[in-house]
């Protein structure tokens, strides 16, 4: 198949290519059309830039008075129906715990699964099936994972509407993305590295742990860190498993107990507040968004720095 010679396209009578060439040769000296086209194309990118700028400026402008008035007080105060007192402390706690769930569950399982696909499986039917399956899972809308969490963790396993159920759901949601990004990083490690290790008598697992994983680590880290940032902003599945969108009081107790109680997360609070009718909540929502964006953009920047620092061409 690979060696098959493809019929040249120009065989078909007036091909678009030759027409284009003819038109281009006939045009005047200065390529006005090309200039206009280039400008238009650049304009599409600049539109995206403008949207991004307006978004950040709008949110920042609305949030500034809140921060000016209350300092960073909203980071430490709990939810409240009164906008002047409400804060995101519970959401921040919830989001951190959810991220820990993702780190502890999704990263190891995802990395191992990627090692299986890239280093162990070869081209057998099971591996092909797993591969297709993971690609499909990566395309399933986040809210459907929320339904899975609701049916399996909240109801069937009896975890209730809790951080435990939310954490498990988020971990499952990001697992396919972790597998795909890790597999990509593993694939970038040249075969010769593996052959060198096999040549001195290393077993497959020794090759992977001593050679492949260390070389792939920067790529894996960048991918997983970006995945964590995505998980941090994920809202829909948490709402499905019952993250609180109203007000609740966190009962004093151990961390372990708080895993089973009602919970919320930073993006869930943004959702809840953005639907509030009171005008003061508009500004407060913007302040919560700033907190959310600072976390996500910092993590993203860290991932990009990591990528640039350790980027390696073989």
């Amino acid at each position: 198949m690979a060696g098959a010679i493809q019929a040249p396209q120009a065989v078909r009578a007036p091909s678009p290519t030759s027409a284009a060439v003819e038109a281009a040769l006939r045009a005047g000296r200065r390529d006005w059309a090309g200039l206009v086209a280039a400008t238009l194309l650049l304009l599409t990118l600049l539109t995206s830039l403008a949207i991004l700028f307006v978004l950040l400026a709008d949110v920042f402008g609305r949030a500034l008075p809140v921060f000016a008035e209350r300092g960073f007080d909203i980071l430490t105060t709990p939810l409240s129906a009164r906008p002047t007192q409400a804060g995101v402390a519970q959401g921040l706690f919830g989001s951190i715990v959810l991220t820990i769930f993702v780190v502890v569950l999704a990263l190891p399982i995802g990395i191992l699964a990627a090692v299986y696909l890239e280093e162990y499986a070869g081209d057998n039917a099971f591996a092909r099936f797993v591969n297709t399956n993971i690609r499909n899972l990566a395309g399933v809308p986040a809210i459907v994972y929320g339904l899975l969490g609701l049916a399996v963790f909240v109801t069937a396993l009896g975890a209730g509407r809790s951080l435990l159920a939310g954490g498990l759901t988020l971990a499952i949601l990001v697992l396919p993305i972790v597998v795909i990004t890790t597999a990509e990083a593993l694939r970038a490690v040249p075969l010769t590295i593996r052959e060198a290790a096999f040549g001195v008598g290393a077993t497959r697992s020794e090759v992977v742990t001593s050679h492949v994983l260390p070389y792939a680590l920067p790529g894996i880290l960048t991918g997983t860190v970006l995945t964590l940032a995505r998980a941090f902003g994920e809202t829909a599945p948490l709402i499905m498993v019952g993250a609180i969108t109203g007000v609740f009081r966190t009962a004093p107790g151990s961390i372990l107990e708080s895993l089973e109680g009602p919970f919320t997360a930073l993006p869930t609070i943004v959702f809840a507040w953005s639907r509030e009718v009171k005008d003061e909540f508009r500004a407060l929502t913007a302040a919560a968004i700033i907190v959310l964006l600072v976390v996500i953009l910092t993590v993203n920047a860290a991932a990009v720095l990591l990528r640039n620092r350790y980027d390696r061409r073989w």
Partner: protein, 315 residues
Amino acid sequence: MTTAISSPPPVPLRVLDLRIGARRRLREGVVRTAITAAAATSILISTLIVVSLVGNAIAFLRDVEPSALLADGWFPRRDMFSIPTIVAGTLVVSAVAMLIATPLGLGAAIYLSEYASNRSRKILKPILEVLAAIPSVVLGYFALTVISTQVVGRINPDVSIFNLAAAGIAVGILITPLIASVAEDALHAVPNALREASYGLGARRLATSLRVVVPAAVSGIVAALILGMSRAIGETMIVAIAAGATGGSLFTLNPFDPGMTMTAAMTSLATGSDQVRGATLAFPSLFFVGLLLFGITLVLNFISEAFVRRVRERY
């Protein structure tokens, strides 16, 4: 063959000596099992998704009045589960989103791949990456506070602040980076020989880009658009915040109306606006809508994968 000269006679190396020890072999086995188990969890996850969706969806179909599925609107509290209503809402939002994201995404992809110098690429590409990092709740808020009032409100002054058009525009912004990045990959995969051949024939950059590179990458570009469409259909938070109609909605195809998409119907069932525990059918109806959404996105993703494979096979 070799003749030993030194005094202690060398022990000839046998093949058996190269065999790994029992402990190392055991370790290999354990590692292999653990790794295979990790890979198998993905199958468990898919099974759980399908089982939980299908089980509850069947329960819903068994109990629901067939006429309720074709009622005038989606009002779960009044046992009106009009599927056409939420599918129409989803289609309107996705259509508006594609209208925004197709030119923005493809334009950006063509510029980055065919026009930008390496230096300007390094500056321009992060714009899309930052835009891709913005969570959808934030875009939902943006849709409500800026897009709805400043953009949609100017086009049609008597529109309510909650409307499908504002949500659609925001979803379009959300999927622009995705479309741009997949399409750019496809354009990048076109071999340089094609461009050189085109330049060699005297074609300019515009002709080369639009008549040679884009047609060669068309499968990948179509894949990017389908993938974007699939993401738009599954997008939840923007519509839940900005499309309005939290309690329910009448059938509408007008983008300036408030409306309800499949995903928004699900979040509104799950949050306080429609108590999930209240109506007996509301809970299973969630899963029926979820199954519908799952099916639609799965089909779209399959088609998109097939298009991507075509690009890979050719070059």
